[in-house]
């Protein structure tokens, strides 16, 4: 796909197809094709996301309607009826405070992944996705990271912790026994993205650690972390 594909007014192009999908007017077979394309074509998926963002204010017109209690019970039966994984997860969660320490978070992700695999068999798309919870390190800074190796994109979801005035958060990849490598300064925002350089890509593998340090505006002047690490976490394959 090239940018020119977007513009052609007669066919509408990919961007208008994305808009038609989001508005919801397409017939069933075309919706299925578009949904499949969203899964395999990240560029197109971004177009769809853009339209979801543009049109989402219209959704405020939907009323809230109370749901019968039986619905939640039915959802729980569908998701958690199998005793083994849910029992394991329940005991894990009841025995650990949620965000305490990397080991706990890592184990939790492993369980979450096991459950996700159990509920939805993995597809090719998911094989190159990694997640990390960057848990607070003597701070209240918490980010959730999804790394897509195919698109070399890191999505960061800001959970808690404001950046101090006049400072920036910088994201680092740390391999054991080596100097940290900067991924870049994390843009301000609740859901932000960082591109991953090709050279970095090879060094980010399951097991690598992500860390966030507090740096002067624009990032570390030395190429190495100069401020305290405020959050960190392991990367896991999903």
């Amino acid at each position: 796909m090239s940018p020119a594909d977007d513009i052609s007014p007669d066919t509408g192009g990919d961007d208008i197809l994305a808009a038609e999908y989001v508005v919801g007017v397409l017939p069933a077979d075309e919706r299925r094709e578009v949904a499949a394309r969203i899964e395999r074509d990240p560029t197109f998926a971004r177009l769809v996301d853009g339209w979801e963002v543009r049109l989402s204010p219209l959704g405020s017109a939907y009323p809230e309607v109370a749901v019968p209690a039986a619905v939640k019970a039915a959802i729980d039966r569908r998701l958690f009826a199998t005793p083994a994984p849910s029992a394991a997860r329940a005991s894990l969660w009841s025995s650990l405070a949620f965000w305490r320490g990397l080991a706990a978070a890592a184990a939790a992700i492993a369980v979450a992944i096991a459950v996700a695999y159990f509920v939805a068999p993995p597809s090719d798309q998911s094989a190159q996705r990694y997640v990390a919870s960057l848990a607070p390190q003597q701070s209240d800074v918490h980010y959730f990271v999804v790394y897509d190796a195919r698109t070399q994109d890191i999505g960061l979801s800001h959970v808690t912790g404001a950046r101090p005035e006049g400072r920036d958060f910088e994201l680092w990849v740390i391999e054991e026994g080596k100097d940290p490598i900067s991924v870049g300064v994390i843009p301000v925002g609740q859901s932000v993205h960082l591109a991953v350089a090709q050279a970095l890509r090879d060094r980010i593998a399951a097991g690598a650690i992500f860390a966030i340090s507090l740096e002067p505006p624009g990032g570390s002047p030395t190429g190495q972390p100069t401020g305290p690490v405020v959050a960190s976490g392991d990367l896991h394959n999903v």
């Binding site: 989001v22 996301d49 219209l58 405020s60 939907y62 749901v67 800001h158």
Partner: protein, 179 residues
């Protein structure tokens, strides 16, 4: 619940935290049920759809991190797309939605009106720049999940004409929003 609280619940849900999932359900199910009812126009089907939607939310919560949507809009998008897929798969056109639902046409409540600032106002202003019936077609399609076929019938034009119409309207909308 602030948007940040809901973000937190989605992230915890993605890591398999059932408590967070339960709370997320308590906080958002009424809104998502409103989406399902409006599109499907049938209580039993909307309840079934809502179950499927929360199963999706549990299994796909990690994808929230790569979306630019606000947390409630991300959840609403899952609900809308699922409900629309369901109604497209069904042969019969639904019963009259407003009659079945007994809810007035979408006039935002005080909460929605309070939220309707910034971006929200812009989309309404941009819709107002379109011809009235075209703006109504975009709004109606978005909120009720109407298909090209249904829109074409209601406006008494051939399907391809309807499609050209709506595409042009969407392109104008995009231009206006990007100004």
């Amino acid at each position: 619940m602030t948007a940040q609280d809901i973000t937190k619940l989605i992230v915890r849900t993605s890591m398999g935290d059932r408590g967070a999932f339960d709370l997320l359900y308590r906080q958002t199910s009424a809104k998502l049920f409103g989406v399902c009812l409006r599109i499907l126009g049938d209580r039993a089907e909307a309840e079934e759809a809502l179950q499927e939607i929360f199963v999706k939310i549990w299994t796909k919560a990690d994808r929230f991190a790569v979306s630019d949507l606000s947390p409630i809009s991300w959840l609403a998008a899952i609900a809308r797309n699922h409900a629309i897929d369901r109604i497209r798969a069904r042969r019969q056109p639904s019963v009259d939605l407003d009659a079945a639902l007994d809810v007035a046409d979408p006039t935002p409540g005080p909460e929605a009106a309070a939220m309707a600032s910034g971006e929200s106002e812009r989309i309404h202003l941009c819709l107002d720049e379109l011809d009235k019936d075209r703006a109504a077609a975009v709004r109606g399609a978005y909120l009720k999940g109407e298909s090209y076929a249904e829109l074409a019938e209601r406006h008494g034009v051939p399907l391809n004409t309807m499609r050209t119409w709506l595409r042009r309207s969407l392109m104008k909308l995009r231009e206006c929003l990007e100004r």
